[in-house]
């Protein structure tokens, strides 16, 4: 009996001590603790964690906890954390969402930290503006990229078809892709992915025709006519076998792993240049990048250099200074730049670009050369997508599928697309 009591006392005492010490260490570390959150795959996490290690080595006493998720899971998690007043200090932000988060007061404006604490002096001006909302800087661009056509050069070679050039039109490429499908060198391999539901590709097509996806005042930037011709073009590709059938395209969950190019169902796919390294890692064949096809031989290019992603600082953060310092380190420290490479896009700082370019391997050089070689194909950065753009992306995909499966004609699909986008934007 006595033994039991004393043991219980001992246990209780031990537990109290334990909890006290946990409390103590928590309180101690509080002022130097940084939390990061980003989306991406394991290679990106390795690179990011390496930068955190470098930063910790230079700033003893700082602890950094980083978390990462896939794109689809990332936004629910972030929204929940922000709503729960538990937002991470440093947030990876996308061009699509920066306006929504900035307008709702979730991000800290960074202007007051420039240039002493946040030195973006050798950044591409347009890219800095990309992270600005209503005249304030809310996101520091982590790299530039551009929408791109990914090509499986091995598959093109096997079929004896030349790769498209910078001036290849959609019509020509459709014929080339159909030929590749007919060559039948590999079972179930089609010329290209069905890109009719891909928003960046559609936007490129619209820009070549002098239109836009969304206007600066949050209106639909194109008409039924353009959309109708777009759907019509893809109908013809489907008929000629140039692109994959709709039920194969529907497997694409809008990520690298399920793209028809990665699945070996198509020799060409549509993605962003900074994803090239990951695409190449998942593919045994040799890949390369090309610009999107032209609407006509003499049409202007529809590309633009886009901030691939930003680092923003939470307005709820208790350590904003520290967070800004970390972001500054991330984009201006040569060692950090070397660790990051071009995985998040081409570094925006001219100095860092030089540091990285000198050490890049052959695979890393492809996106660098692609983005810097766009020339007059690249135009002005469009205004950030308005609220509701995320829903708009799903709508385009949905309607393109209805056209693909033959439930809607191209003309009806186009009309429905414009109607629904208008309704979504009106709701905001």
């Amino acid at each position: 009996m006595t033994l039991r009591v004393s043991r219980r006392n001992f246990m209780a005492g031990g537990a109290t001590l334990l909890s006290l010490s946990a409390f103590g260490s928590g309180a101690f570390a509080q002022d130097k603790r940084l939390r990061l959150l980003w989306w991406g795959s394991q290679p990106r996490a390795d690179r990011t964690n390496k930068v955190s290690e470098l930063y910790k080595a230079k700033n003893p006493g700082t602890s950094i906890t980083g978390e990462f998720l896939g794109w689809g899971d990332y936004w629910p998690r972030l929204a929940t954390q922000v709503a729960g007043k538990n937002a991470p200090d440093v947030i990876q932000m996308d061009y699509r969402y920066i306006v929504e988060y900035a307008h709702r007061g979730a991000l800290a404006p960074l202007d007051s930290y420039m240039p002493s604490k946040l030195n973006l002096s050798d950044f591409d001006k347009a890219q800095i503006e990309g992270g600005s909302v209503d005249g304030h800087l809310y996101g520091v661009s982590l790299g530039a990229n551009s929408a791109a056509t990914m090509l499986n050069t091995t598959a093109f070679e096997e079929a004896g078809i030349d790769l498209p050039s910078k001036t290849t039109t959609w019509e020509e490429f459709g014929r080339m892709a159909a030929e590749l499908t007919k060559a039948g060198k590999r079972k179930g391999l089609f010329g290209m992915a069905d890109g009719s539901g891909g928003e960046p590709l559609f936007e490129n097509y619209l820009r070549q025709r002098g239109k836009a996806l969304y206007t600066a005042d949050a209106k639909v930037g194109f008409g039924v006519e353009e959309a109708s011709e777009w759907f019509d073009m893809w109908n013809k590709f489907r008929e000629s076998g140039a692109c994959v059938p709709p039920d194969i395209q529907a497997l694409d969950k809008n990520d690298i792993e399920t793209n028809t190019l990665t699945l070996g169902k198509s020799a060409a796919g549509f993605a962003h240049s900074n994803q090239f390294v990951a695409y190449q890692q998942m593919n045994k064949d040799k890949l390369t990048l090309a610009n999107h096809m032209r609407v006509t031989k003499d049409s202007k290019g529809g590309h633009y250099r886009k901030p691939s992603m930003f680092f923003s600082v939470s307005s709820q953060s208790k350590v904003v200074d520290q967070a800004v310092d970390y972001v500054n380190f991330f984009v201006t420290n040569p060692e950090a730049a070397l660790a990051l490479g071009v995985e998040r896009g081409i570094p925006e700082s001219a100095a860092m670009r030089e540091v990285v370019a000198a050490k890049l391997d052959a695979v890393g050089k492809v996106p660098l050369e692609y983005v810097s070689g766009l020339g007059d194909l690249a135009g002005k950065l469009p205004p950030p997508p308005p609220a509701g753009a995320g829903e708009g992306e799903l709508t385009l995909r949905n309607i393109s599928e209805q056209v693909g499966f033959g439930q809607l004609t191209a003309a009806d699909g186009a009309k429905q697309l414009v109607d629904e986008l208008t309704r979504i934007l009106a709701r905001g």
Partner: protein
């Protein structure tokens, strides 16, 4: 006068105090008697009020606001409900997908579960092993891994089509064709028949064997015995399973989320109600609207359940 009043009030005070003491002691006695019970219930009570009732009431409040998760909610009255009723084609499409799923998955699942239960009830050797094996899919059922497996099985070049190819049939890509995708989800649900099967099995064990003996002495066929004895005596269990499974089916989320990658595609063919709710809440920052959607679902499930209970008196037979 003054004195008398003072006496009276003093008396009243005494009475009051006395009553208070009685109430006190009654409360104390009750407390002393029940305290251990409440203490043991405490985790559940905390869970119920903190994790179920609290959030539920919160979501009821939010359903009348324009809460976007980042700013504080603003009252909008019944606007969310008005939009659901009048201006949301996706609501209708999600509802029809979900109803199709409920109408197909629940009866098929119950029929299948009953069949297996009947087979297992025959007293085969190693029954516990079979029970465990058949129950396994239900345990794994709601998990992401199984949905991913299903994706592989029913893809265009998956195992199902490989099997069909043996018979010279070129199958479509089941999960990514809008005409078939919902049926693969129904099949997935039917495959998870374990938990109603276990309950059926328990129900079958309750039926007195002498009834069958008497029936077979009277010359009733096996088929007739099933219709006249097994089914009627099993109706309470069927009723229970039907209600539970219907509620479950309305709430189905994971398979559709994984198989369509969260889009509900192709062409909204797997846009389950809960998936649409999730998209609105976390994809489009409309937590207020999603809360209203959630309460509509609560009402619909309540109506279905009430209907089951009301109809039960015409077809459920209790053994009395």
């Amino acid at each position: 006068m003054n004195n008398a009043m003072r006496t009276m009030s003093a008396e009243a005070a005494t009475v009051e105090r006395y009553r208070g003491a009685v109430a006190d002691s009654r409360f104390k006695r009750l407390w002393n008697a029940n305290a251990p019970g409440y203490l043991f219930l405490l985790p559940w009570l905390l869970g119920f009020f903190g994790l179920t009732l609290g959030p539920a009431l919160m979501s009821l409040y939010l359903s009348f606001t324009d809460f976007d998760m980042l700013r504080s909610p603003g009252w909008v009255g019944a606007a969310n409900y008005v939009r659901i009723a009048t201006a949301d084609p996706k609501f209708a499409s999600a509802m029809s997908v979900t109803l199709t799923y409920v109408m197909l998955a629940v009866p098929f699942k119950l029929a299948f579960a009953l069949m297996v239960a009947l087979a297992l009830n025959r007293g085969i050797q190693g029954l516990p092993i079979y029970r465990a094996i058949f129950y396994l899919p239900s345990l794994l059922g709601a998990s992401v891994a199984i949905a991913v497996l299903w994706r592989q099985l029913f893809a265009g070049d998956g195992l199902v089509n490989a099997a069909l190819a043996q018979f010279g049939i070129q199958g479509p890509s089941w999960i990514s064709h809008p005409n078939y995708s919902i049926y693969t989800l129904v099949a997935l649900s039917v495959w998870q028949f374990g938990s109603p099967m276990i309950i059926f099995l328990a129900g079958l064990r309750q039926i007195p064997q002498d009834m069958y003996e008497a029936a077979s002495l009277d010359g009733a066929s096996k088929f007739r015995q099933f219709y006249k004895i097994t089914l009627p005596l099993l109706t309470p269990v069927i009723f229970f399973n039907a209600v539970v499974q219907t509620i479950d089916a309305f709430k189905a989320f994971t398979p559709a989320f994984i198989i369509s990658g969260g889009t509900g595609g192709p062409i909204n063919s797997t846009l389950f109600y809960t998936l649409y709710l999730y998209q609105e809440a976390f994809g489009n920052f409309r937590m207020g609207y999603a809360s209203a959607l959630a309460w509509i679902l609560v009402i619909i499930i309540a109506i279905f359940t009430a209907f089951s209970f009301l109809s039960s008196r015409y077809w459920v037979h209790y053994d009395d």
